[in-house]
Amino acid sequence: MRPPRWLLAAALAACALGARGADTDDKPADQGDPDYLQGRKAIEARDWRSAIRLLSSAALRDTRNADIQNYLGYAYRNSGQLDLSFKHYSRALQLDPRHRGAHEYLGEAYLMIGNLPKAEEHLAALRKICLIPCPEYGMLEARIAASRKQ
């Protein structure tokens, strides 16, 4: 048995009339922010100082964006400012407890300071999150394994 045609037609007509042209709320928050886009380019260019400046600016406008916080953590980590790196990774996870990248990078940051148990906590979190396999789990697992061999 197929759904009655009148039911489909009525529902679709209501949607088409009422909802057209209002897609702006579906755009990712960071898509239009020039500082965010330039900040990501700076990260790709390994220009940590510019990345921190640009992403910090973007974070002021978009205070609840876990991706921005994660990139800031990454930029601070690579510039050797681990305290600030931890702060931004933690903020990313506060905003999105399932942020795979932040779990991976925070785990790696803990390895850098020799805190293996904390790194393993983030691996365990990724194991639960990544029921659909994700590369972040494998990356952190490999780093932890390498760290154990040292």
């Binding site: 197929r2 489909l8 529902a11 949607c15 897609d23 990712p28």
Partner: protein
């Protein structure tokens, strides 16, 4: 409705409605054959890539559920793979919210594939993850309701696995977030009956009858429950 009637670049709500209505029609009736024959949005519609991925996610979830619950694990797996591809598209397009919604669908559909394959433990692991993830996320305005509450599907799975006590608990939890659902009342009544909780079963069945009081549907659940209550 024809694509030309929709105008240029309609809102995503148009597409979610277009695919959710037939998907719900089959899923709510547990018409698994019908669900397995759902068709993705045709190429003639002026949808953006991410809108199409959201819409196709709904359809492939329905197809996967249809095949899985018909006992065809291989075809269900193939639909789950297509569902995963929609999630990848949404991740690539930075549509984090919708990617997570499709992830919920992937986990839910994978759960029923495992159930069909007979791996009850894996099935529950995926189904619980789907329910927890969905309950932790907000419903988008483009979906007037969840496509099918994952916690209710978890309850259905527990009931199918013979764990009526856990099933009843999950039905009750699901009804707090998604109240007034015929299938939840039906499942709640069945689980309570299995546990010998006749008062609770009666309460659930009476709610089902109340919900369907103006219905002229021939759905077997409604007739079954009406007969059951009439015989008391």
């Amino acid at each position: 409705m024809k694509a030309t009637q929709l105008g240029t670049y309609p809102n995503v709500a148009v597409y979610t409605a277009m695919v959710a209505i037939p998907a719900r029609y089959y899923l709510e009736r547990q018409d698994w054959k019908g669900a397995s024959q759902l068709e993705p949005l045709g190429s003639g519609f002026p949808a953006n890539e991410w809108q199409r991925a959201v819409a196709d996610g709904i359809t492939y979830f329905g197809i996967a559920m249809g095949f899985a619950r018909s006992g065809d694990a291989a075809s269900a797996n193939s639909a789950v793979d297509k569902l995963k591809a929609q999630r990848e598209t949404l991740l690539r397009l930075k549509q984090g919210y919708w990617a997570e919604q499709v992830e919920v669908q992937v986990l839910g559909a994978q759960a029923w594939v495992e159930q069909t394959k007979g791996d009850k433990g894996e099935a529950l692991k995926f189904m619980r993850a789907a329910a927890d993830l969905e309950d932790g996320s907000e419903k988008h305005v483009a979906m007037e309701n969840r496509l099918y509450p994952m916690r209710e599907l978890l309850a259905d799975m527990l009931r199918e696995q013979g764990d009526a006590a856990s099933a009843l608990k999950e039905y009750e939890a699901s009804m707090k977030n998604a109240p007034n659902r015929l299938r939840a009342y039906y499942g709640c009544g069945k689980a309570a009956t299995a546990l010998g909780q006749t008062k609770k079963a009666d309460a659930c069945y009476r709610q089902l009858v109340r919900l369907a009081r103006n219905s002229d549907s021939e759905r077997p659940e409604i007739q079954e429950v009406a007969q059951l209550l009439a015989s008391k």
